[in-house]
Amino acid sequence: MTATGISFRGVSHTYRPPRGQPVLALQDVSLEVREREFLALLGPSGCGKSTLLYLLGGFLPVETGEITVAAKRVAGPGPDRGIVFQNFALYPWKTVRQNILYGLEKQRLPRAERERRAQELVELVHLRGFENSYPAQLSGGMKQRVAIARTLAVDPAILLMDEPFGALDAQTRALMHEELLAIIRRRPKTVVFVTHDVREAVYLADRVAVMSARPGRIKEIVDTSFAGERGAEIAGTHAFAEKVEHIWGLVRNEAILAQERREP
Amino acid sequence: MAGVSAIGQALLRWASILGVLALWQGFAEAHVVSAFLLPAFSTVVVRLYHDVVSGDVILGIALTLYRAFAGFALAAVAGIAIGVMIARVPPMRWFFDPLVSIGLPMPKIAFLPVFILWFGVFDASKILMVAFSAVFPVVVSAWAAADGVEHVLLWSALSLGASRAQLLWEIALPSSLPQIFTGLQVAMPIALIVEIISEMAMGGEGLGGSIMTDMRFADSPGVFAGILAIAIVGAGLVRAMELIRRRLLVWHAEASAA
């Protein structure tokens, strides 16, 4: 077991809404994520892929099964697992700089060190000149860059991303893909990336775990590492197209199933 | 399972209220504070019952509601008319805009002695005081509502052959009703608050007048019984406004949300 290896064993999760029947969201999920691997969790909406991520983050209690990080059971949130949400989850009352500083303040680093690291991250995500802007003054792509910088600030070994580019337009999303890959090249991390976009998953990830419609299960794990190459290097290749095609086939049926279940 | 928890929820909801009432009763019976400062809850309920049976409270409620409603109705009619005119007629906007922007946040209650001076201490004075206090939120909401009527709605009605009068009654009014009603819902509690203050200051019976009299005679069970009656009336009014709103705005998205 490596320092940041993640393992899900027999994880099930039941969602209990305040009103109405409990829903089995995840059923018997077992999965290993290797150190410094980029794993995409792919599935139709409502398949529980975000729930799986929240369980790993420690935000929801693990009721059935076990999740371990570096051989230790997950028992709550911690700065070893940074998370980036779809709708950015920035603190709207804090400026860009203050948002990035927040995690560093919780780490009790000396002030000068905090400021130095915050500035470094501002540069890393290309937001120089916007340090004192409030989130409401930024575009969607810029907001998500701030959110990524805020998460990277505490230097987590594991990066959890919950459809981080889902709220962005296609062009911004493509740019953000390049930036994310560049950041991970400079600061290697274990990444668990939730998405429902097949192309995005194949483009970014080393492996793609395809999930079934509710109750969510791991249907198949597809290797998308292309001999260590990623992103633009492989996007136009025949192999890439084949992988997308294959995974799309897997997801399609599940998406139809999910659709039917939502509109009885 | 769901049934049990629903009953449990209802019990919990009442538990704290019953708890506070029990605490009140216990405090009073243990003479922690004197019966003058805090008469026992049972004493207050018995007193309210007697006042109801003797008809005093019923008359008080009737008088208070009559004057509060009359003032509220005046405020509603005048407020909606002024609000719509501000939105539609430029000279009206010129004249009323500064008055409304100053009048809304201004503490109108200070004008109470002025109303006594001008209109005396009887019903007319109280009704006008209530109307003056409650009119501003109605004006503002009617103004905003009339300003916000979507032009596509008006245009489509015009192209379907509606006349100008029909436009106002059949399109503009219904589409601005939710917002106007919000203003009325703000105005209603103000009307009651001010009516009670007016009765306290001017006399003339009513719930506010009677608790003030009871206070002057140091009749504390009477004061608390009066407050209990006012609380019941207030709760009934708020609830009634909610029901009317739901009935009136069945078509509105909020009705299905609630």
């Binding site: 998370i83 | 003058f36 500064p98 200070a110 002025v114 719930l207 004061v223 407050i227 709760a235």
Partner: protein
């Protein structure tokens, strides 16, 4: 400057009518003393200290009651949103008490605290408590889950989250609740002073009214109205400043 003059020109018109109508005999001078007489009375109140003594007393009681209401209200509201047992305990009481026209409590505060400052402070406090509680409760309850999770993931403790995330995220609704409370506090204070008291602007107005000094009475009414209006404007300014992050 010129825009403001055009905007507020109807007020000048009204002021002119106010001055002219009693002078021309259209209205009895006791019913409506001319504006100039009211202003003269105001200067006199200023000179002999009546305005300072009573105005200060009113402002003190208002600020004390309001401050107490804000501190208690914000604490209660946020705790209600954060700890379920507190919500179960307090929320039903609030639902029952909220529709009560708060002015009905003035006689009780007088029974309990007498005719002095304490009863005025209590009336203002009771009047503004609930809007603040409800604002803080709704604001804190509406905080997005992901904001809390982000803070926890960054290493914040639960009580730190309350301070770092819940309070600022609830601030827009807290501040809106306080604005309602400010308006209510003026109503309750002036009403309590008008009814029974020995000091304060409401007392000043009602005693001039009873004594037939109508020019001074109108001067008092104008003063209270103006202070209430400017208090709201000042508050709005500070509120916008505090919430400038909302863009």
């Amino acid at each position: 400057m010129k825009a403001a003059l055009t905007r507020y020109s109807p007020l000048l018109l009204l002021a002119a009518v106010w001055e002219a109508a009693p002078r021309l005999g259209l209205i009895d001078k006791d019913t409506l003393p001319p504006l100039s007489a009211v202003l003269r009375a105001w200067m006199e109140l200023l000179r002999d200290g009546d305005l300072a003594v009573n105005g200060l007393s009113s402002l003190q009681n208002l600020s004390a009651g309001l401050a107490l209401g804000v501190v208690v209200g914000v604490t209660l509201g946020i705790l209600m949103a954060w700890y379920r047992p507190i919500e179960i305990l307090i929320n039903p009481l609030i639902r029952v008490l909220y529709p009560l026209p708060r002015s009905a409590l003035i006689p009780v505060t007088i029974l309990w605290f007498g005719l002095g400052a304490a009863s005025k402070i209590a009336a203002v406090f009771l009047g503004c408590l609930l809007p603040v509680v409800i604002g803080a409760f709704n604001g804190a309850r509406g905080v997005e889950q992901v904001l809390i999770w982000s803070a926890l993931a960054a290493g914040a403790k639960r009580h730190q989250v309350l301070w770092d995330v819940v309070l600022p995220a609830a601030m827009p609704e807290i501040l809106a609740g306080i604005r309602n409370a400010l308006a209510l506090s003026f109503i309750l204070l002036v009403a309590a002073e008008l009814l029974i008291s020995q000091r304060g602007m409401g007392y000043l107005i009602s005693s001039f009214g009873e004594g037939g000094a109508y020019d001074a009475m109108f001067a008092g009414v104008l003063t209270v109205s103006a202070v209430g209006f400017f208090a709201d404007r000042l508050y709005l300014l500070l509120m916008r400043r505090a919430l400038r992050w909302r863009a």
